[in-house]
Symmetry: C2
Subunit: 251 residues, 2 copies
């Protein structure tokens, strides 16, 4: 929205999303979380558990946005290849992180249970720092502007909370949402002319089809609160002039 925006991308890593086995909900959570920090999520990608694909997507995203958040592929099994892919993308080595080894190792009373595969979860790219979480022992990590998190939603969320202090904050985007029963096609021209008046506000139009009826939600978003409010008022006045009783929704 402005050149000073703090931007982000999400990179979801996992065959289970692309096969349809698992519905990704992490992107939506991260989008909302970043919104509370004034950070703009600009792009999201889903790639399979294939090292070349992870490397290419990560390098495309990390060079373009302030931050990249990855989810998935950091467990102990053979299909968990995210750490190696990220080391390769950054062109650095990968090794056991002493602190990660210590916290993981402390979990097992019998040292034999801390086997080679479990130790894999302590491997991070050179120069990375750990992201702890309150749900599982296995840490995520940060390297450069990339934050590497678990795919399991509860663990990802706990990691996101812990990395929050590391993030630069942007100006919050203010949102006004207005619900109308008028069809999109009837108000589209008037809406376009309101959009043309408010260049710092992004106006979106989202039709919905529910059991209780059809309608449209009109959303005004922008960093200038007064402009968002003025655009919302203009939309409401336009809807009233069209004979509707628009409803302002809580965001």
């Amino acid at each position: 929205m402005t050149d000073q925006s703090i931007t982000a991308a999400v990179l979801v890593i996992g065959d289970e999303i692309l096969s349809g086995r698992t519905q990704d909900t992490n992107t939506n959570y991260i989008a909302k979380f970043l919104g509370t920090l004034g950070i703009d999520l600009r792009e999201a990608r889903v790639v399979p558990d294939v090292e070349d694909e992870i490397v290419a997507a990560l390098n495309a995203l990390r060079t373009r946005y302030t931050y990249v958040f990855t989810t998935g592929g950091i467990g102990p099994t053979h299909d968990d290849i995210t750490a190696d892919a990220i080391a390769r993308a950054f062109g650095v080595g990968i090794d056991y992180h002493p602190e990660a080894l210590a916290i993981l190792g402390a979990r097992y009373k019998n040292p034999a249970d801390f086997n080679e595969m479990r130790k894999r979860m302590a491997r991070v790219p050179d120069g990375a720092e750990l992201i702890r979480n309150s749900v599982s022992i296995a840490p995520g990590f940060r390297i450069g502007n990339v934050f590497v998190m678990a795919g399991v939603p509860a663990i990802m969320r706990a990691m996101m909370e812990n990395l929050e202090p590391l993030l630069q904050r942007g100006q919050i985007v203010h949102v006004a949402t207005i619900s109308t029963k008028l069809p999109e096609g009837r108000i589209a021209a008037a809406l376009a002319s309101i959009q043309a008046q408010f260049v710092n506000v992004a106006i979106g139009s989202y039709p919905f089809y529910r059991e209780e009826g059809f309608g449209v939600q009109l959303v005004a978003r922008g960093r200038d609160l007064a402009a968002v409010e003025a655009a919302a008022s203009a939309i409401e006045a336009m809807l009233v002039a069209e004979g509707d009783l628009p409803e302002r929704l809580k965001n």
Copy 2:
């Protein structure tokens, strides 16, 4: 999985997904739908309502995969810019499609109601053919290997059904899913060695954390049914040897 695979990408277009306002469910639906046709979904991207972003993502995806399926941005409002972006990506013009004009126009008793903004929904890139649907009148379209669909899930699904006959089918991927109560880290080495034995089967390990308990779902996927079954049997035998009573889940 093989070089003869029929591949696909999904391109989700819409600020509302990146702001977190809307949880995308279309990608998951398309993934499953393509799975029933033996088509491999290899990548998904979400981009904002910004023409340059749509053009760049579409051109990256359409040159790489057999098919690209887009969702969103084909309504009558100013923020619906998908058709123009796709025409630009293909380097072709865009104009009113006579059949689309006819089916849209037939909806309005009063010709004045078929206004300029509603007519926008009849604009498709030169050379595109329409994708009808049973839910709304506004059509999607196909141009080259790109299928352009609505963002509203019910409409997108109806379009997907109608375009199915246009798609080349691949060999179905067979899936076996086994649930275990053993932790990932305990079985990871044995699982890796089973994966090494079955090179035509992709074995994934997905831990779950539910109220009723923790566990892991082990998923074997591949086009060779006998190999998938053999890998699944090997996984079950390994789990039994580890003292578990694995459960085969329906897919």
